[in-house]
């Protein structure tokens, strides 16, 4: 059996072993768009008239997602959160380089779509790196602070800018890695919470969707390449040694030996949830943060406000883990 495109017998650019499917450039693009459209419809992620905000990082997944949504006819704009991540503390740091890819894509789709940019340092006086130095535990404090800031600001901006839905570029590998971490630690509540669609709440949480969660990470990188979407290939300097990357490595080792392992792991989990094999996730009662007005499970200040109110330690007192 050769590796010609199954549809046209042309040169294949990808062989998806888990689907026993090799496709050429044109038929791969068609396949991704068709399956993304079906996935969005099946899980009621978006309505045709929805204004969608795409969380854009400058990476392959989020830029591919933005491109796919526009190709499918959705009104989709992007938002880039400039976290100010920079190992060497210069102006051309990682966040600024990532932003350039987001801007380049936005220019290619202008005026059909626009990019919002939120500069954390300009708004809060400190970059995420500087905010992280103010508090939280030692080892993964940068990633924890980054996640918290992004969740808070993306929710706030989606609502304040009047979008119906926030779409994120989580792929199947991202979701399978989270599931693996939660399974290994028997975090049943987190597993119950892991979902393709998080509904909006009356307290101000916006609807969040993951339209790429049926695609392997490898497929999304291939999609960005064949669609000619330049993206940042370098990794965030803080991601080195991250637990989720270790889980991805393990999952890919299993996938290599038995194709379809990741797909089955994740989709059987979704099926099990639907069948009621996990406890129903009951969201905590939310209040509004006294300072920022965002929904929070805490009384008084939300976790984000507590984090940014902590005084920064002088620069240089600690180093990157």
């Amino acid at each position: 059996m050769g590796y010609r495109c199954r549809k046209c017998s042309g040169d294949s650019v990808i062989n998806m072993r888990q689907h026993r499917l090799a496709l050429c450039e044109d038929h791969f693009i068609e396949w991704v768009q068709k399956h993304a459209a079906e996935f969005i419809r099946k899980h009621r992620m978006l309505e045709p008239e929805d204004r969608v905000l795409v969380a854009v990082s400058g990476g392959k997944d989020s830029l591919s997602l933005w491109s796919i949504l526009l190709d499918l006819g959705y009104q989709a704009d992007g938002i880039y959160i400039d976290l100010g991540i920079d190992r060497d503390r210069d102006e051309s740091g990682y966040s600024k380089r990532s932003l350039q890819y987001a801007v380049e894509f936005a220019q290619s789709v202008s005026p059909r779509a626009k990019l919002h940019v939120l500069d954390i340092k300009a708004v809060y006086g400190r970059s995420v790196t500087e905010i992280a130095r103010g508090g939280m535990g030692a080892k993964r404090k940068y990633c924890s602070a980054c996640g918290l800031v992004k969740r808070h600001e993306l929710n706030r901006m989606t609502r304040e800018l009047g979008y119906a839905v926030l779409a994120t570029g989580h792929n199947l590998d991202d979701e399978a890695a989270v599931l693996m971490g939660n399974s290994l630690n028997w975090e049943v509540e987190y597993m119950a919470r892991q979902a393709l669609v998080l509904p909006a709440s009356s307290t101000g949480l916006v609807k969040k969707v993951k339209p790429l969660a049926r695609f392997y990470e490898r497929e999304m990188a291939a999609y960005a390449i064949v669609r000619g979407i330049p993206y940042i290939m370098e990794e965030c300097p803080f991601s080195e040694g991250a637990t989720s990357l270790g889980y991805k490595e393990v999952l890919n080792s299993m996938e290599r030996k038995s194709s379809g392992t990741k797909l089955k792991f994740y989709f059987e989990f979704l099926k099990a949830k639907k069948k009621g094999l996990l406890p129903n996730y009951v969201p905590p009662e939310l209040r509004l943060c006294e300072k920022c007005g965002e929904p929070t499970g805490s009384t008084g200040l939300c976790a984000f406000c507590r984090l940014i109110e902590r005084p920064a330690r002088p620069v240089g007192v600690d180093t990157l883990e």
Partner: protein, 63 residues
């Protein structure tokens, strides 16, 4: 000889092989990379002759 670039490093390997074998020779997992030749994606089963320049791209990201 085949020149293979990956994450900024260049490697030289013997030709007349497949992309899958090149990936294995560098100790990488074929599920974690994509291969390109002349700016185009090629599948892991592609035969590579005596002379070629191959670029491998890591597809894994996140933290």
């Amino acid at each position: 000889m085949i020149k293979v670039s990956f994450k900024g490093a260049e490697h030289t390997l013997e030709g007349n092989t497949t992309v899958r074998k090149i990936i294995a020779a560098l100790g990488l997992n074929p599920e974690s990379v994509l291969a390109m030749r002349d700016g185009k994606l090629i599948v892991n089963e592609t035969f590579i002759g005596k002379e070629a320049e191959i670029r491998l791209i890591s597809v894994v990201s996140g933290g």
